[in-house]
Symmetry: C2
Subunit: 193 residues, 2 copies
DNA sequence: CCTTAGTTGACACTCAGTGCCATGCGAGGC
DNA sequence: GCCTCGCATGGCACTGAGTGTCAACTAAGG
């Protein structure tokens, strides 16, 4: 069982996340100050920075569990699988989270649109994905023993996934994300063999 | 002929770029203030911001001519070419610039390593590439009439190119960039058909 | 010579982000 | 039950990015 202090900490963190998402979505990213977010969560500006290193991170870190899950998922995939199969399988994790996840699908979509529509946040997000891609490349290289080939495969796999997510967000969730990823991978998998 | 004022402006801009590249490469990005860069170029901090919107942009904008060239190059490619051929062809522009370009190859490499090695700059760079990728997708869509397919193709093409450049920078330029891109495209082109 | 447009420096200001220190509070030892 | 010890917090001061404003200067053209 987690200690009281730990649960308190999680509470403050959730409070900050929720306040931030609400304010940022309503007023826009640039127009919202950290003091506003902190005040809305009932803490000081200084405390905000004890939970998040930067304003962008309040949004980005909501997605970091997904990155962890992808890393972990790929590590436990059978080595007999091709890179294409393994990648397609682990990308199912964020898909499920976005479309049928706990925090409710509409919230996921709002977050996605906010992240992809705000230059400063998008830049940070792309950098995170880039980092994740590098790690995934490492995992693939460990399977095949061909580092460069693996990094190209990882790059292509992420490219397909990203194209699908952007299309999904741009269409306001009207199209099925799983299908979009399937289509993208159908195209990409020729290069992932 | 450009007016005196225009040439003066270009002079200041070059002065700022050069001072920035030198200082940032030596001291690191975070450790260098804009006032230092401005002072080294002989202007005030306020003037710096009249030339570049942010500290990252001094480095990023050195690459923006390449983005323009890629856009322009793709627009003038024969419509008979496949997306794979057209993409491979326009990516030759930055390759030539990096390996045999005017400002000398070593400088290109230093810039590449600085951009890719500094989180804040890398994030901005990835965002620029992302934007370019979107525009390229639009141009491809205009050829084929299949927007989603085109955006996946653009994403994959850029992924291959990026993987090659990163490998090139990581290897300190020891490997031939053109060959790396060829290898990556050999893999990717299956998906670009 | 005079006017106009564009460039610059100086100053003041907001806001992001960090370091430091004092205070408060829960947990466990005595 | 008291007393520390550790940790979270708030407040404060400070640096640096980035912006608005204004006055001074300068090239260009009538």
């Amino acid at each position: 069982m987690r200690s009281l202090a730990d649960r308190k900490r999680q509470l403050v963190r959730d409070e900050l996340s929720e306040a931030a998402l609400k304010l940022l979505a309503y007023q826009g990213f640039e127009e919202t100050t950290i003091e506003q977010i902190a005040a809305a969560a009932g803490v000081s500006k200084r405390t905000f920075f004890r939970y998040f290193a930067a304003k962008e991170d309040v949004l980005i870190e909501m997605l970091s569990e997904l990155a962890d899950a992808i890393r972990a998922g790929l590590a436990t995939r059978p080595a007999s699988e091709s890179p294409a199969e393994a990648l397609r399988a682990v990308f199912q994790i964020p898909i499920d989270e976005f479309t049928t996840g706990h925090p409710d699908p509409a919230k996921s979509l709002r977050l996605a649109r906010l992240v992809l529509g705000t230059p400063a946040v998008r830049a940070r997000y792309l950098d995170r994905q880039h980092q994740l891609r590098t790690e995934v490349a490492g995992l693939l290289a460990a399977r095949t023993g061909e580092p460069y080939r693996a990094s190209v495969q990882a790059a292509i796999g992420f490219a397909a996934y990203e194209a699908a997510v952007e299309r999904w967000a741009a269409a306001d969730g009207a199209e099925d994300l799983g299908e979009l990823v399937d289509q993208a991978f159908a195209q990409a998998s020729l290069a992932l063999a």
